[in-house]
Subunit: 291 residues, 2 copies
């Protein structure tokens, strides 16, 4: 086990049984005064999660949008955010992007911290939401017999990343300004048995859903809508940043939002994931690992 994996395991032990299934992947659910609050915290690091020199307005957008996407996967409506910001030369742009994304989703800035720093800069955001449906959907509820579904198309963020990196002038919005599917998450929450957002690649995130639910998942890659050319299908399914919703529905249930069935949930076999019938024994290389 790598040192990183050992550390994350240590955090999971600290967090105890309830959170252990999802800590550092899934948002936390906290019961307060008869409400279920959903809490999530994500960091972005320059050079790792955002390109060096990327427009700070886009960084602010992505920082907020990725956390709101975690709320969307819980069917939660945002209540507010706390910002951890490392000051830089482009703070005016950051502020603009922050105002845009908070305004777009009607989310108040509740507080936070600003610090001096250096390169690489980093940012943190905590988003707080209110669950709209109980039980709050998680990764662990998928049942054998369920269908596996996904919203939208995969690979759009990959194309956007390449356009931005290479300066081709092609549309890079899917990478720079992802759209958290808050309304879709709320509509799906009462129906799904499990749900998560696709932040690290469809195949890796499907693996995680299978692991959390103690089932096997069989994916039919040809069924997955992709934004890339056909020749790049597997890459589109292994690339992160699309922030579509991945969910399981009981047999016969139709989703109330546009979505595509891409596979089946099965009794746990000898591996968590089957891709076009091939057993996948190891998550290595399936997608974007979490650091």
């Amino acid at each position: 086990m790598s040192r990183e994996a050992a550390f994350i395991d240590g955090l999971r032990m600290l967090a105890g049984h309830q959170a252990a299934r999802g800590l550092l992947d899934d948002a936390a659910v906290l019961e307060v005064g008869g409400e279920a609050l959903v809490l999530t915290h994500d960091m972005l690091v320059e050079g790792i999660h955002v390109l060096p020199g990327q427009d700070a307005a886009d960084i602010a957008w992505k920082l907020v949008a990725t956390n709101l996407s975690d709320l969307a996967a819980k069917g939660a409506e945002p209540v507010g955010v706390l910002l951890g910001h490392m000051l830089g030369d482009d703070d005016e742009c950051f502020l603009l992007g922050l105002a845009q994304v908070l305004g777009r989703y009607g989310v108040p800035l509740l507080g936070g911290d600003t610090v001096a720093g250096g390169s690489p800069r980093s940012w943190g955001l905590t988003a707080i939401g209110r669950a709209t449906h109980r039980p709050v959907p998680g990764r662990s509820g998928a049942l054998p017999g369920d269908g596996l579904w996904v919203t939208g198309e995969l690979g759009a963020a990959l194309l956007g990343f390449e356009a931005l990196r290479d300066g081709t002038g092609a549309d890079s919005a899917a990478y720079r300004r992802p759209l958290p599917l808050l309304a879709e998450g709320r509509a799906l929450a009462p129906l799904v048995t499990a749900m998560m957002d696709v932040s690290d690649g469809l195949l890796l995130d499907s693996w995680r859903l299978a692991e959390a639910s103690e089932v096997s998942i069989a994916i039919d890659t040809a069924a997955v809508p992709i934004a890339t050319p056909e020749s790049r299908r597997l890459q589109a399914l292994s690339w992160g940043d699309d922030y579509q919703l991945l969910f399981s529905l009981p047999p016969g249930t139709q989703p109330p939002v546009p979505a595509t069935q891409i596979g089946q949930v099965e009794q746990r076999g000898f591996v968590p994931l089957f891709v076009d019938g091939q057993p996948i024994a190891n998550a290595e290389g399936l997608g974007w690992q979490h650091n």
Copy 2:
């Protein structure tokens, strides 16, 4: 106005009127299901808030303790924390310190994020608490006629910092492992008109309390208990990291915890702060500015 100040002003505008008085200083208060939640987020940056090469167990302790201190100043009991962690070679030590501080205060780790990074590393922590008294104490309630009080001694963290920096072998625990005054904050919350923790120096934080409350504060420096030699009294009152509680009480009210009256709240004069009768017109140099 500096670019930093302009940015923070921009954030305050984004946060709207209610949070504007305290944003990025004070913890946020959120009404949820009949409860008042208190939310705070602080970052630590290597080389700025912690010494380069400082024991990661102490970094973890301080990261949690400083956020719990913000809850203490609201009379809130901790409900949980979310961690933003940049991975490094000393993660095992970090985990140990994290387990120690969470265990000491009985606070669950709810979730968070781990990221790869570089130097300088940074860490973020969001602490969530439940207010034990309404109205929740803030910085803005001090009234002319109130006494100004502080718990404990100031300057202990300064001595601890010097001991650690210079490797003298003297006790550095006050700097490395501050103790959030959670029980004291809860005992004081029903009685105080305003309260905050002293994170950036007694004089600067008194200035901020006066500004938020739209009053003037007169401090008698000789009355302040200090941990340093008498010759370093002013330095002890300008140094941060002590995490004592600073609060105002109506005349005649005695605090239920050990504390010392160090000044008076007065009608707003031409400056917010008087130190031994001298008017202070500018916060510059009063303490540790917030980045």
